[in-house]
C-alpha cells in the first residue's frame, strides 16, 4: 500500500482527472479522500493505492503532469500520521449495551447515538485500529458502516505545502505558434 498526498486546484473535474489517471495506469485505489485546505482555491487529496514503490513513483510523476495538480508526493516511506474515521451502527439492546460500551471504550471510540435497538459508534485512528474494533463489534451485528478513507500528514517539521502563485510567474508567457 502506497500513500500519496496531492494538492490540486479546487474546481470541477479534477477528481475525475485523478481517478481517470489511476484507471489508465491500472492502479487500484484503496481510498481517496478530498477536502478543502486553508486556501479555498486548493484542495488536498490523500490517495492510498495498491501498488509497489515503482507504481507509486509513476503515479506521483503522472499526477504532477496534470495541469490541475500542483504537487503530488509519495509519503509512504516518511514518518507520518494516517487517520481514518468511521461511523458504525451496531445492533444493541439493553442487555448487551454495557458490554458493548466497554469494548468501544478500549478502542477509544465514542457512542454518538443510542436507540432502543442500536447505537452508533464514532471512531477514528489508523485503519488497523478501526478494523480491530470492527472485528470485535461484528458478533453483535454491524447494521451499517460509513468510513471516510484515510487522510495522512507527515510528522514534525517535514512540511508539505502547496506552492504559491509567486513561485512560478515566469512560466506564464505566451507560447509562440508555428511560423515558417
Amino acid at each position: 500500500m502506497q500513500t500519496i498526498v496531492a494538492y490540486v486546484e479546487n474546481k470541477p473535474g479534477v477528481l475525475n482527472r485523478v481517478a481517470s489517471l489511476t484507471r489508465r495506469l491500472a492502479i487500484n485505489i484503496d481510498s481517496l479522500t478530498v477536502g478543502p485546505t486553508e486556501n479555498e482555491e486548493i484542495a488536498r487529496m490523500t490517495i492510498c493505492a495498491h501498488t509497489d514503490e515503482n507504481g507509486a513513483r509513476r503515479l506521483e510523476a503522472s499526477l504532477e503532469k496534470l495541469v490541475d495538480v500542483l504537487v503530488a508526493e509519495n509519503i509512504s516511506d516518511r514518518s507520518m500520521l494516517e487517520r481514518d474515521l468511521a461511523l458504525i451502527k451496531v445492533a444493541a439492546d439493553q442487555q448487551n449495551r454495557p458490554h458493548l460500551m466497554e469494548l468501544i471504550k478500549v478502542f477509544r471510540g465514542r457512542v454518538v447515538d443510542v436507540a432502543p435497538e442500536s447505537l452508533i459508534v464514532e471512531v477514528s485512528g489508523t485503519v488497523d485500529k478501526i478494523d480491530g474494533l470492527l472485528e470485535v463489534l461484528r458478533p453483535f451485528g454491524v447494521l451499517e458502516m460509513a468510513r471516510t478513507g484515510r487522510i495522512a500528514m507527515t510528522r514534525g517539521g517535514d512540511l508539505l505545502r502547496p506552492p504559491t502563485a509567486a513561485s512560478n510567474s515566469s512560466k506564464d508567457k505566451d507560447s509562440a505558434p508555428a511560423s515558417s
Binding site: 486546484e9 473535474g13 475525475n16 482527472r17 481517470s20 489517471l21 489508465r24 515503482n54 513513483r57 509513476r58 510523476a61 503522472s62 504532477e64 503532469k65 496534470l66 495541469v67 490541475d68 495538480v69 500542483l70 504537487v71 502547496p162 506552492p163 504559491t164 502563485a165 509567486a166 513561485s167 512560478n168 512560466k171 506564464d172 508567457k173 505566451d174 507560447s175 509562440a176 505558434p177 508555428a178 511560423s179 515558417s180
Partner: protein
C-alpha cells in the same frame, strides 16, 4: 473595447501569431466562423475533422510551433479524437477548438451535444470547457502555453455557443494567463549526474539511443557536439530520425522492430546505452527481459514519468535534452572507440553489396526502389510525410534524412490515414519546402477525401502511393505468424490516377523501375499537386523484423540474402 466571444477568440489567435486554422464549421461554432470571415486568419476547409487535427499536427511537427484545429460540437468533435490521440502519443503541440451547445443546455442531450472534454481527457495534455466570453482569451493563451511547454501535447478548448455570442470588454493585457501555481521540482540530482559521467567515461561499447526529444528541445547542434566529443555511435528511434544526419558515419540508423540488423546487434552487445529524449517503446526494445543485458543504461528525459517505466536505468537525468547534454559535455573525455566502431562496421557488411540500386533490374518494382530513388532525386531535401505500415518502415530505411523535422510520421499511435492531411499541414507551415506524401494504398483510402482540400487551397504536394494491393504490414504478419492466411488484407482500390483526375489533380501510374526517376522528376517539375500510383511487388516484406515480444537480436532476416534486407530477387 466591446467584442463578442467569437471575435475575442479570433483576436487572441491573431495576437498569438496564428495564421492558419484547419477546420470544419457547424451549428455550435458558427459565431466563430462569422468572426473568422472578418479576421486575417486563413481558414483551411478540410473534408473530415480527423484531417483537421492531422493537418494541425503536421503543421506543428514541421516547425515546432503550435497547430490549430477547429470543429463544431458533437460529431465534429468526436471525429477529432483519432487525430488528438495521434498528437498525444507523439508529443505534438496542437490546440483544438470545438464549439459546444449553449451552457444552459449542457448535460441535456441537446442536438449535437457530446461531452468532448470527458471523451478526450486521457488523450489530451489538458482540456477545458469555457462557458463565459470573458474567459476565452485567457483560456486560449493558457492552452498555447500548455501545448508547447515541457513535453508538448494536444490541448482541447471547448467553447459554448453562448460564450461565443456574448459581448464583453476585451483587453489583451487583462487576459494574461494564470496557470495553477505548480511546484517547480528541482530535478538536479548530482549523484545521478556523476554516475552518468562516470559510466560515459568508462564505457567500451557505448551506443546513444536518440529520440524525438532532441528535436523538441532544438538540441541538434549540441547533440552533434556531444557525439563528436564522446565518439559514441547513434541509433535512432523512428521519431528520432532527423535529429542527427543520416549520412554521418556515426549514425547507425533506426533501431527496433524494423531497425537494421547491425543496429540491433550493436545495442544487444553494448556495455552502455545513453537514451536521450526517447521512451523505450516496445517497438524499440523487443522483449524487455533480454534487452541489452550487458549494458548499463543512462536516461536523459524531460518527463519524470518515463524514468524506469519500461527499462530500469542505472542513472537518470531529468531535464531538457539540450540543456542536459550541454551540462554533460565539459565532463566527457574524448575517447577512442575505434575497435567498437570497427566491429559495428563489420556487422554492417559491405554497403556496396547492400545497395539495392546495384541489383540487376528484373522488371520488378519494389517499394524500396521507389523510396531510394525519391531520396536520390530530391537529394534528401524534401519533407516526407508517411502513413503507417510497410512503406513507413521502408521510408525510414531508405530515405536518409539529414535535416530535423523532415520526416513526419505517426509513431506512437500508428495512425493510418495520417499522411495526406499531415502533409497538407506541413505544406502550410513550410510553403517553400518540397513536400512528399509516401502512403500505402490502404491508408490513402482512409483520408483521400482531403485531395479536395489540396485542390481548393491550390497547394503543391506530391503524393507517392506505394500500391501493393494489400494491407501490407498486416499481410506480412499473416505470412510470418498466421501461416499465410490472408484474411481481410487483400484490398481493392480505385484507379488512383483516375481518381486524382476526378479531383482535378494530375495522376500517373508507374509500373516499371525505369519509369520511377523520370516520373518523380516530372512531378517535381510542375506547380500543381501530382499523384503517382506506384504498382509495387505485392508480397514483399520489410526486413529485418523482430517479431512482437521477441528479443531484439532474434530478427527474421531476408531469406536469401540477409545483407540485402529489402528488394532482393524473389
Amino acid at each position: 473595447m466591446k467584442l463578442t466571444g467569437a471575435q475575442i477568440l479570433c483576436e487572441t489567435l491573431e495576437h498569438l501569431g496564428v495564421r492558419h486554422i484547419f477546420g470544419y464549421p457547424g451549428g455550435a461554432i458558427l459565431p466563430v466562423y462569422d468572426a473568422i470571415g472578418k479576421s486575417k486568419l486563413h481558414h483551411i476547409l478540410v473534408r473530415h475533422e480527423q484531417g483537421a487535427t492531422h493537418m494541425a499536427d503536421g503543421y506543428a511537427r514541421a516547425t515546432g510551433g503550435v497547430g490549430v484545429a477547429m470543429a463544431t460540437s458533437g460529431p465534429g468533435a468526436t471525429n477529432m479524437v483519432t487525430g488528438i490521440a495521434t498528437a498525444m502519443l507523439d508529443s505534438s503541440p496542437v490546440v483544438c477548438i470545438t464549439g459546444q451547445v449553449g451552457s444552459k443546455f449542457l448535460g441535456s442531450d441537446a442536438f449535437q451535444e457530446v461531452d468532448i472534454t470527458g471523451i478526450t481527457m486521457p488523450i489530451t495534455k489538458h482540456n477545458v470547457v469555457v462557458t463565459k466570453a470573458e474567459d476565452i482569451a485567457r483560456t486560449v493563451r493558457e492552452a498555447f502555453i500548455i501545448a508547447n511547454s515541457g513535453r508538448p501535447g494536444p490541448v482541447l478548448v471547448d467553447i459554448t455557443k453562448d460564450a461565443q455570442q456574448a459581448t464583453t470588454d476585451f483587453d489583451w493585457d487583462a487576459t494574461a494567463p494564470k496557470l495553477p501555481p505548480k511546484r517547480i521540482r528541482n530535478n538536479h540530482n548530482q549523484e545521478q549526474f556523476d554516475r552518468a559521467v562516470e559510466l560515459l567515461n568508462s564505457a567500451k561499447r557505448p551506443v546513444i539511443l536518440a529520440g524525438r526529444g532532441i528535436m523538441l528541445s532544438g538540441a541538434m547542434r549540441t547533440f552533434e557536439q556531444f557525439v563528436r566529443t564522446s565518439n559514441i555511435p547513434v541509433a535512432m528511434t523512428l521519431l528520432g530520425i532527423g535529429c542527427f544526419p543520416a549520412t554521418d558515419p556515426m549514425n547507425l540508423g533506426m533501431m527496433g522492430m524494423h531497425g537494421e540488423a547491425w543496429v540491433n546487434t550493436a545495442i544487444q552487445e553494448a556495455d552502455l546505452l545513453l537514451a536521450v529524449g526517447m521512451r523505450f517503446d516496445d517497438r524499440v526494445t523487443g522483449d524487455l527481459r533480454t534487452y541489452a543485458r550487458n549494458a548499463r543504461k543512462i536516461h536523459i528525459e524531460i518527463d519524470r514519468a518515463e524514468i524506469n517505466k519500461n527499462v530500469k536505468v542505472d542513472a537518470a537525468i531529468i531535464g531538457d535534452a539540450g540543456e542536459t547534454l550541454a551540462n554533460l559535455l565539459p565532463h566527457i573525455h574524448e575517447r577512442d572507440h575505434s575497435a567498437w566502431l570497427a566491429h559495428i562496421k563489420e556487422l554492417k557488411g559491405d554497403s556496396a553489396v547492400r545497395d539495392i540500386q546495384s541489383l540487376p533490374d528484373s522488371g520488378h518494382l519494389y517499394a524500396a526502389h521507389v523510396i531510394n530513388d525519391l531520396w536520390k532525386v530530391t537529394e534528401g531535401g524534401a519533407i516526407v510525410v508517411t502513413d503507417v505500415g510497410q512503406h513507413q518502415m521502408w521510408e525510414a530505411q531508405y530515405y536518409h534524412h539529414d535535416q530535423p523535422r523532415t520526416l513526419i510520421t505517426s509513431g506512437g499511435l500508428g495512425t493510418m490515414g495520417f499522411a495526406l492531411p499531415a502533409a497538407i499541414g506541413a505544406k502550410f507551415a513550410r510553403p517553400d519546402a518540397e513536400v512528399w506524401v509516401v502512403v500505402g494504398d490502404g491508408g490513402f483510402q482512409m483520408t483521400m477525401c482531403e485531395l479536395a482540400t489540396i485542390v481548393q487551397e491550390k497547394i503543391k504536394i506530391n503524393i507517392a502511393i506505394i500500391n501493393n494491393g494489400y494491407l501490407g504490414m498486416v499481410r506480412q504478419w499473416q505470412e510470418f505468424f498466421y501461416d499465410k492466411r490472408y484474411v481481410a488484407t487483400p484490398l481493392v482500390a480505385p484507379d488512383f490516377a483516375a481518381l486524382a483526375n476526378a479531383f482535378g489533380i494530375r495522376g500517373e501510374r508507374v509500373t516499371t523501375r525505369k519509369e520511377v526517376v523520370p516520373m518523380i522528376e516530372s512531378a517535381r517539375g510542375t506547380e500543381q499537386a501530382v499523384l503517382l500510383d506506384f504498382r509495387v511487388e505485392q508480397e514483399d516484406s520489410v526486413y529485418p523484423m523482430v517479431p512482437a515480444g521477441a528479443s531484439l537480436h532474434e530478427m527474421i532476416r531476408r531469406p536469401n540474402n540477409p545483407l540485402v534486407e529489402t528488394a532482393s530477387e524473389p
